[in-house]
């Protein structure tokens, strides 16, 4: 990958276009909030105002109705699905060009998003972009990325392995056996089964310490960090000196 236009084109084909096509199926499989994220959102003071950057189907918008979240996603189809979660709002936007004022928000979450950017520079730019929206030294961001170290998962990735991978998403076809009503038996029912369709999404799998390094590299301070269920996560705040 050479220049910015090529990087963008790569992500367009291998991330954005895929989510746009799998949006509704993807959404139907994403409904249970992860505990650390739920705790983060529920622990915010009533009336807090923040962002959910890469909100997908908006499952985290449903967690706390006493705060106000402007969600954003690159996929129009996912944003449309997410927009039903009141009192919150959703727009279509790119993490590198967010339509929000700097230094204004109490919090931000970005869950399973940064790992879709295809170069180290773009991943750091994405973190800088999140931190720039936060109120200096008060605002905090919760960031989740997929881990390379997933020894216990069926995917079989582990320390020392390839970090830039293509991950399949299988959209199940209709497996319904062809209906054979007694009347028509013998006429040979026509099969209408739809085949499974596999899409591949680009991921950068984060190794231990890499997320913390990226946050520090763009002037952020890690307040808390950890590993949960195949993911690295961190809560970060912009340092006062950061832009």
């Amino acid at each position: 990958m050479g220049n910015v236009a090529e990087d963008e084109q790569y992500e367009e084909s291998h991330v954005h276009a895929v989510y746009e096509q799998i949006a509704s199926h993807f959404s139907s499989t994403r409904y249970k909030p992860w505990p650390i994220i739920e705790r983060f959102l529920k622990g915010l003071p009533d009336g807090s105002i923040g962002l959910d950057i890469g909100c997908g189907n908006g499952k985290y918008l449903a967690v706390n109705p006493a705060i106000f979240i402007v969600g954003s996603d690159r996929s129009t189809n996912l944003a449309q699905i997410a927009s039903q979660h009141h009192p919150h709002s959703v727009v279509v936007a790119d993490i590198l060009d967010l339509p929000h004022q700097h230094h204004s928000f109490d919090f931000a979450i970005s869950i399973a998003v940064i790992h879709h950017l295809s170069t180290p520079i773009r991943r750091r730019e994405a973190i800088a972009s999140i931190l720039a929206t936060l109120r200096p030294d008060e605002g905090k961001a919760l960031i989740y990325v997929w881990a390379l170290e997933q020894e216990s998962s069926r995917r079989g990735w582990s320390e020392g392995g390839e970090q830039d991978v293509m991950v399949p998403w299988v959209m199940k076809g209709s497996k319904k056996s062809t209906s054979k009503s007694p009347k028509n038996s013998g006429t040979g029912a026509v099969s209408v089964a739809v085949e499974d369709k596999t899409f591949h999404r680009y991921y950068h799998l984060y190794r231990r310490g890499e997320l913390d390094d990226d946050i520090a590299a763009v002037g952020g301070k890690v307040l808390e960090a950890g590993y949960e269920k195949d993911n690295w996560w961190a809560i970060a705040t912009p340092e006062l000196s950061a832009s």
Binding site: V70, S89, V91, V92, A93, D97, L98, Q101
Partner: protein, 131 residues
């Protein structure tokens, strides 16, 4: 898109974001709709001090909605002696939460780029030559 959202949006272009002219975005050819929503008095009370009131005033004027008072209502004006929501609070709920832009454009006052709103969703993706 509910009008409250407009208070937390500006132009997506890096060169505009820090300029005063980019906020608030200006609605153009906006189709409004009322989306009924349960009123949460505490939510409105919490949002009020966080609003850029001048931007809200600009927005209501540009949308042809009734003019807002010069200063934001105080907390005392939102509930009566018995703690019940006042008409002022109900009006704010209608304006901020229920009045929505169904379609139209949002225009940056700095670069004049127009962002489309379709089916209630604003799209801030920039064409590559503008990034």
């Amino acid at each position: 898109m509910k009008l409250l959202t407009l208070n937390f949006l500006t132009c997506a272009r890096k060169t505009c974001k820090s300029t005063a002219a980019a906020f608030p975005l200006h609605p153009k050819e906006a189709e409004l709709e009322q989306v009924e929503m349960d009123m949460n008095p505490l939510f409105i009370t919490n949002m009020l001090p966080r609003l850029e009131w001048e931007a809200m005033k600009t927005l209501t004027t540009e949308l042809g909605l009734p003019n807002l008072p010069a200063e934001p209502p105080s907390a005392e004006e939102l509930a009566d002696e018995s703690g019940e929501p006042t008409q002022t609070l109900k009006d704010l709920h209608t304006l901020l939460m229920e009045t929505s832009i169904a379609s139209g454009k949002l225009v940056c006052g700095n670069c004049e780029h127009e962002y489309a709103v379709k089916e209630g969703i604003a799209n801030f993706l920039l064409p590559s030559h503008m990034v």
